[in-house]
Symmetry: D2
Subunit: 134 residues, 4 copies
């Protein structure tokens, strides 16, 4: 299993009138989680894009357990548990500074050729970096 933890501070912009971090901010936090996981693996998403591969999101699931509040520091733990094919699954667990589970979720992303906008198989360079850990 591959994983990485990233800290994010909840800003005023993130809050809503309930005083909670708005539910629609977490997809952005999940993006930060998977980006930092890829960077740790040694292939940044930016480099992958520059090599001509984009990774659009195919599905998103979030189960909200507790709210996060203004100025909380949340920790997004991101996991890759399976070898990617033409898709890659990232799982997420978000905890607050008291280690309470805030939410958990999953995104599935495709590999798409920048020019043709067609789905392709996982690039070898990414496959190699992941498969040696799984």
């Amino acid at each position: 299993m591959i994983s990485n933890k990233t800290e994010i501070r909840i800003t005023y912009a993130d809050t809503d009138k309930m005083g909670y971090c708005y539910y629609g901010n977490y997809p952005r936090f999940y993006e930060i989680g998977r980006t930092e996981l890829m960077r740790k693996l040694g292939l940044s998403y930016k480099e992958l894009e520059e090599s001509g591969i984009m990774m659009p999101v195919l599905s998103l699931n979030i189960k909200y357990i507790k709210p996060a509040f203004y100025d909380d520091i949340i920790v997004v733990e991101t996991f890759i548990k399976e070898i990617p094919t033409s898709r890659i699954v990232f799982e997420y667990e978000v905890r607050n500074q008291y280690s309470d589970l805030i939410n958990k979720g999953e995104t599935v992303l495709a590999f798409v050729d920048d020019k043709s906008r067609k789905v392709v198989r996982v690039p070898d360079i990414l496959f190699d970096k992941i498969s040696k850990h799984l």
Copy 2:
């Protein structure tokens, strides 16, 4: 079945460097969809909150099918298909101006007492408005 359609114009702010509407904007568009559906039912979410009931989101699922692009007018169709209990399920289908299905999703929301922050049953006033259509 209860449903409502709401049009939303994709702004520059909504786009990302892929040229697509960023995947993380759709929870916000779903919020607009369910808010307008409630308004059409005759009980705005604002009035419900003023009566002391909040509706935090318990889960979110989105299946992304096609991208939306800058300046597209998307139509968020929102559905209530089941009588709510202590939870209410909203389903969503998002189409572009060519009637292509962009994505579909679901949110489950709780009813929570503003003061105690405890889960409560669906308020009678909302139950009545929904049950007469289902």
Copy 3:
């Protein structure tokens, strides 16, 4: 003077824990205002971009007068008061549903060639549409 009014409904996503529409949302609302003003003039920003001209923002000023609240319908009135050169100035007045002035502001945008990323003069097609009203 050229002007246009656009209505925007304040969403839950827009609010912050103070219960106000977050101050950082107004640049997005100003974008909607100037986009709809250009559409009314007969040259959408999308068409302008497709012709190879981008309009990055050079400066932004906002004077906040009153807060907007959840579910308010604000009206963004956008003005062009001067013939553009290599820059175009949009002014904005935002009012709520009670006609209270919420804020006023100004953005200055450049015309930039998509390929060279150099500043250019206002495209003739836009100049013609504006100058006949000023």
Copy 4:
């Protein structure tokens, strides 16, 4: 002069179809800058709010000089140069990882009593922390 530097990574969510960090994201980055400056002074904005004082924004000015791009690490340097009265002025300079100036700006914020929603003078506890450096 009081100042603090905060690093922010530009996410995919922050980008627009021009490939730039959207102009409307900087007010959020400025918020992060001033929040971290206050934390460094020893009085977090959260604590100030808990003591009954809110700080709504009265005005915002930004001069955009260069774009920031996806995955850039920008540094928001935030300054307090004047003793606050019933208002406090924060200035900002944003640079990218090559030390290029991206934009500079200013926000003026009021001190408002949470209950009465009236403007008040700078709280003594904040005045003391600022005045000993200026």
